[in-house]
């Protein structure tokens, strides 16, 4: 039955590709989380009237974030080839896709982090100040915990966009399900391979969405 419907699908290839996709996604989600959180905090804290209000740092960070968000991902990969080569020593394979994935999605996540932090009640920050809290305490004990559900659901959105990016990166040889669908499926006109890869990717997306929603809901005590 399976052989008849998917004559060209080799399960070993499928699992390898799935592993590569998951590898790229998970590592880049972690990288995106760290860099995006940092950039988002800088954007928020240096904004007018906030704790580290600084027009210059805010302006420069905003420009960097906007520029990298404006570059289409497929072009960003090409632009980053020299950088990737320098950093990873190769421009092929899942590892080589990581810099572009992280640089491409961290600014996006940074904006989501900024929005999440803006949602934190100013009164609560004021209350913490009135208790004599240091800025460090306000960041780690007020801002981040109070915006946790939004940070997590933002990360879910970013992770799903990243799964899409890994497929794009696949087209230029990063490996993963996108690579498989394009090289072995599309190029050879084996549509069953394209279809099987699509199903796998959709399932991965659903799993990420489910975990993200669950975690976010669990954290939300509002």
């Amino acid at each position: 039955m399976f052989e008849e419907l998917f004559p060209n699908v080799v399960m070993d290839d499928m699992w390898t590709a799935t592993y590569e996709t998951l590898y790229m996604t998970i590592i880049s989600v972690i990288g995106t989380f760290i860099i995006g959180l940092f950039l988002g905090l800088v954007l928020y804290l240096t904004d007018q009237g906030n704790l580290w209000s600084n027009r210059w740092i805010n302006g420069i960070t905003a420009i960097v974030v906007n520029v990298f968000r404006a570059i289409p991902f497929i072009i960003l990969i090409l632009l980053l080839f020299p950088f990737t080569d320098f950093l990873m020593g190769t421009i092929r394979g899942p590892k080589a896709a990581l810099p572009a994935l992280i640089i491409g999605s961290a600014p996006f996540y940074a904006r989501l982090v900024e929005i999440a932090l803006k949602e934190v009640d100013k009164g609560v920050i004021e209350a913490a100040k009135s208790m004599g809290a240091k800025t460090k305490t306000i960041i780690f004990k007020v801002l981040l915990p109070e915006s946790k559900p939004a940070l997590v659901s933002g990360l879910t959105v970013t992770a799903i966009a990243l799964i899409g990016y890994t497929a794009m990166a696949g087209v230029i040889g990063a490996g993963g399900l996108g690579d498989l669908a394009y090289m072995k499926g599309f190029q050879r006109r084996d549509n069953d391979v394209v279809f099987a890869c699509t199903v796998f990717i959709v399932v991965i997306v659903f799993i990420f969405q489910f975990i993200g929603d669950f975690a976010s809901k669990k954290m939300d005590k509002r």
């Binding site: 009164g123 004021e126 009135s130 208790m131 004599g132 915990p145 946790k148």
Partner: protein
Amino acid sequence: MISIKHLSKQYRMKDQIVHAVNDVSLEIKKGEIFGVIGYSGAGKSTFVRLINRLEEPTSGDVYVDRHHFTKLGKNELREKRQKIGMIFQHFNLLWSRTVYENIAFPLEIAGIKKKDQQEKVNELIELVGLKGRENSYPSQLSGGQKQRVGIARALANDPEVLLCDEATSALDPETTDDILELLVSINKKLNLTIILITHEMHVIQKICHRVAVMEQGEIVEVGDVLEVFINPKEKTTKRFVKQLSPLEHDPNRLKEFLTDDENKEVIKLHFVGGTARRSLISEVAKKFDVYANILQGSISQTQEGSYGTLFVELDGNRSEIEEAIQYVRESGVEVEVVEHV
């Protein structure tokens, strides 16, 4: 205890300067509940934030317990702020923390070890009457309970001063009374100085010892609550006092009783302290040949004693009326003959 000298705060708007607080000087005694009343926009919220420098004053000085607050450096200020508790209109609790964790938060800030926090937090939970709710999240509490958490949190580092910024304005009347009672009991138990900002006169009347009336950034009247109630001088103050007994200061509502008939007279009686409990009207009706028609009356309890007003129409012979008024005056009750407008 708290000494405020020529305190001002100006905001620079586009092309004008707004004086949110303008040259305010006050002395607040230790253990006192001091009320500041004003309409919204009067600058009272800014004023209270100038005390613990959540807002930086433009000029002037604040001394709290002999510390020159307006001269403190950043780190010193943070340390000293721990000794000034603050509660807010919208409670400002951390929703991600339980009741217990919210109350422990200021202790964490003060650098107290986790296991040493426990005793203090439990003691505070007991004090504000939230035993059994330690592990609830703020979203599971009613407004009154949330404010109790706010109060417990404000008291965690044994402050000497408690600042209340419209602490009861978001609560219903009954809950307001509970919270006010709690504040009074804390004030007595801990000899805590309380500064309370409100726009509701009955809050002042219920718990404050002294009151300052604020208008357009300035203090227009200060005094003991009872005194201000009986004898409000400024127009704004009169309007606030009117909140409590609407008929008072509103001659229109008495109009139909104010006639040219010389055998009828409307008088207003002020009862202060012990005299509020005498059966004066019956005495008058028995002793003199007049009918006493009670139009309106109210008694207010303040921290310094009770205070009542009574509007009475006396109906009878002119000379009898005058004698009756004389009698009332001699019995120590202040009388005011209400005239035509």
